[in-house]
């Protein structure tokens, strides 16, 4: 049980440089460690190394591999499936949101992501 604030290592995945900068700053201002990558493939490469990532936050819509594909890969891997995955999207599509949650996403955040959304999320993560 976490009584004091712990630092998480969050892997942020977004092909948009503005969004990457924003999500990184939001997380760092709460003293979390952030690794930001611009594609799902890079995320998988990083996760494949000896990584201490405790949460993944990913954009849904990316070229090549979507955040949903990344989610499936993570949840389908015995080594990675315990890592919570949060999906971000600028489009509010209920069927998409449901599909992500059914596939095991921890949460779904609508963009633009607010600092308050992320701090709520991190508090929940650290309660575990």
């Amino acid at each position: 049980m976490a009584s004091s604030k712990q630092q998480m290592h969050v892997l942020a995945v977004d092909d948009n440089s503005v969004d990457r900068a924003v999500i990184s700053r939001i997380l760092r201002s709460s003293k979390h460690k952030v690794t930001a990558v611009d594609s799902a493939q890079r995320a998988l490469d990083l996760l494949g190394l000896e990584s201490d990532v405790n949460m993944i936050i990913t954009d849904y819509w990316m070229p090549d591999m979507t955040g949903f594909d990344l989610l499936k890969r993570v949840k389908g891997s015995s080594a990675l499936k315990e890592i919570p995955v949060v999906i971000m999207s600028s489009e509010n599509v209920p069927s998409r949101i449901n599909r992500c949650l059914e596939e095991g996403a921890e949460d779904f955040l609508l963009k633009p992501v607010r600092p308050s959304d992320v701090s709520r999320l991190c508090s929940r993560m650290m309660m575990r």
Binding site: N16, V18, D19, A21, V22, I26, K111, P112, R114, P115
Partner: protein, 161 residues
């Protein structure tokens, strides 16, 4: 040379900052930027004192590229509305992430014309997107310049602090 700041004299401005620790009310009050921009300003601290300006630079780098892509996409015959929509959606996304309200709204309209496959509508709304984008660039350049000048003046005149 200070940028003319409408409606407020500098002493009044310093007084307000001293009392409320507020950032400048413009450009929020003019409707160019929304609450998201203010939230980004709130994220600035000693570790990242120039975060907002850095993000704004990223935004204009990305958005200029997207605008150029859209320009090229609009010259294609037959029109690829799907590809065009994807570019507009990206521009809308970046705009909304920094709180660029007017640019974002024009992108929404542009996107509707793409969905309707209305070429004329697309061309018209693209002109508006470009116009709002250019105005926002000017406003933000002036804003950051003013912040720098204010910062210098505050450091130089301790009686105001």
């Amino acid at each position: 040379m200070l940028v003319n700041f409408p409606n407020e004299t500098l002493p009044a401005f310093f007084s307000r900052r001293r009392n409320n620790h507020q950032t400048l009310p413009f450009p929020l009050s003019e409707g160019y930027l929304d609450e998201q921009f203010h939230q980004l300003e709130e994220l600035q601290d000693d570790v990242s004192p120039n975060f907002v300006e850095e993000v704004v630079v990223l935004f204009f780098r990305d958005s200029s590229r997207l605008i150029s892509n859209i320009e090229q996409a609009l010259e294609k015959h037959p029109q690829d509305f799907h590809g065009l929509r994807a570019c507009v959606q990206q521009l809308k996304g970046s705009s909304s992430s920094i709180g660029a309200l007017k640019v974002k709204n024009e992108c929404d309209l542009f996107r509707e014309y793409c969905d309707e496959e209305n070429k004329e509508g697309c061309l018209r709304s693209f002109q508006k997107v470009k116009k709002e984008h250019a105005i926002l660039r000017q406003k933000l350049e002036a804003y950051f310049q003013l912040l720098r000048q204010v910062g210098q003046m505050e450091r130089a005149t301790p009686s105001y602090n």
